[in-house]
Symmetry: C2
Subunit: 120 residues, 2 copies
Amino acid sequence: MTQFDPNKLTFDDKGLLPVIAQDHETGEILMLAWMNAEAVAKTLETKKVTYWSRSRQAFWIKGETSGNVQALIDLRVDCDRDCLLAIVDQTGPACHTNRRSCFYTSVIDGTEHELMKPEV
Amino acid sequence: MTQFDPNKLTFDDKGLLPVIAQDHETGEILMLAWMNAEAVAKTLETKKVTYWSRSRQAFWIKGETSGNVQALIDLRVDCDRDCLLAIVDQTGPACHTNRRSCFYTSVIDGTEHELMKPEV
């Protein structure tokens, strides 16, 4: 068996890679955010999904402030090792707009349609 | 209704944004690749998912060579407008390794486990 080493992933020129968060029960895509090698290691250690906030330039334990945590169920690496898929148990809405998913806007027909409302 | 304009998305310093491809029937995450504004426009026009290949620096109509095309079912924008979710009808395997999905390696327990084999 191959030991997993977060430092052997392929990061971009800022030391980051994109991470997709998917609901473990429904398969719904909740959000996409970024991790550096240390965030990947922290996520695996704590089982709390921990991103790197590009705006704040700091670790971002998802839900630490809002309570809308993501418990890690599985972490998957893609074929190029430059992207991760975090399969999670999401408490509350994943999006900062209070919607379940960040992908609430559909654009298929040239106009934008809101697919879901903020939770109350 | 808001008209969708690919040029009003938020691209990175290389003019790209990440695009998640998800199977429209199973909800499975197939791959993540990149688009520039023109690739987004081409994808919407042709309904054939068209990425920007960072290695070849060229448009990449998914499946043009292999036949493993992605027919666009829905395109979704995230809250920050810096990431897209393409919901697709995938012909054949999505991954260049001939696996259904690029995310075939699970790393949850510190070691890597192969979740699926190449299709034959």
